[in-house]
Symmetry: C2
Subunit: 232 residues, 2 copies
């Protein structure tokens, strides 16, 4: 954490990136719902930029899987079927398990210390039950530290992608009553295993964490999922 602040303003430019992030968070926040069409001209007006920037940002989101573009009809927010969600969680468990193992085996002491702090922050946020955004923030930070410490940029990239798509589900396991303390315990287990440099255990703990989350999310999904929208 010693060298990250000098060059940050360097990439601040490019309107396109701003639009991209704007749209991404709007989708994550549920402002645009899955299946909703995203009409270029409307977005131009709402965001206040030209069509070029909008189109290119949409192309980026399309590549990430957040929006689906139907030729000559335009982009819409991707929807995700029950089955896809299941697959998604499978891959996520696989990758996070790998990240956990890699962290345990190769992470620096500094990384581990930072992870410890992240766990504490999360626990603190969980205790203060009425600050949801802080909770989400804390959890994101935990994952960021975990993925950075794992030292594999591809895993990080892919997990970020998967994470974005999971937000499409609008189902966080944390929204379920009683899950919160479970989450805290699970993150704690991950941290313990990593601190002990036990790769196997860290991998298993990460996977268990995701699998538990998946179970909760999929149950909720199944209940609310009459049938999925037809594939493109």
């Amino acid at each position: 954490m010693a060298d990250f602040n000098l060059q940050v303003p360097r990439q601040a430019a490019t309107l396109r990136l701003l639009v991209e992030n704007k749209l991404r968070s709007a989708i994550a926040a549920g402002h645009f719902k899955p299946g909703q069409r995203l009409i270029e001209r409307e977005l131009c007006e709402q965001i206040g930029v030209g069509r070029t920037s909008i189109r290119e940002a949409l192309r980026q989101l399309e590549a990430e899987g957040l929006v689906t573009t139907i030729p000559h009809r335009g982009p819409e927010v991707s929807s995700i079927t029950y089955d896809e969600a299941r697959q998604l969680y499978q891959v996520r468990a696989l990758l996070e398990g790998f990240a956990g193992r890699a962290f345990a085996e190769n992470g620096s002491e500094d990384d581990i210390a930072e992870l410890g702090e992240a766990v504490e922050h999360f626990a603190a946020a969980a205790a203060d039950s009425n600050d949801r955004s802080a909770l989400i923030e804390a959890k994101s930070h935990f994952y960021a530290v975990l993925m950075d410490g794992a030292g594999n940029m591809f895993v990080k990239q892919m997990l970020t992608l998967l994470h974005n798509r999971i937000t499409l589900l609008r189902v966080t396991s944390m929204t379920q009553p009683g899950r919160l303390s479970g989450s805290v315990a699970e993150l704690g287990e991950i941290y313990d295993a990593i601190r002990a440099r036990d790769g196997e255990r860290a991998c298993a703990a990460c996977q268990r964490h995701i699998e538990t989350a998946a179970q909760v999310a999929l149950t909720v999904l199944k209940a609310s999922d009459k049938q999925a929208s037809p594939r493109r």
Copy 2:
């Protein structure tokens, strides 16, 4: 394989996709080398389309990691360091292992039969040592069948991505003398394990296959890699 041909012409449109594929294969073929700048106007002339299409296609490739865009300087073909290549092969082994296991456990009999054919084709192409393109074609087909049968679209997506980026290395393990028969044997092992419905063995076989390929590729890379180009 019974229902894939009626709707294929349906997506033939969108100039952007054509440009995208054109560029992708040009990069894969080594026509554009890592580090080379891609100037929009030149591409417009070479391909014969407007700047819009070029830019959007480049955006897609950027998201895939094939090109890197430096703000106000433009896109260039991504280069990949030795260390990144190592990470890349790690993830690939992880994901292909998963795919192999999933195929063994959930693949249909039809899928398995098709995989068998793919293996045979590859072996035949390997025997005829002077048809390189057929060899590459056969190998791609094997992977395509493998990933399809695994039944996880995210894994497939990610592996496709990784595969594209590996071509950036311009180092195929198959280019090494003597590796070819090894490859054939390894694919055979994968097929055997899957046919026996032995998930563990299939997973291990896939991982071993990638690890062997990685070893060869990384050795070659290390020899030719004085130092990597500076990160963006």
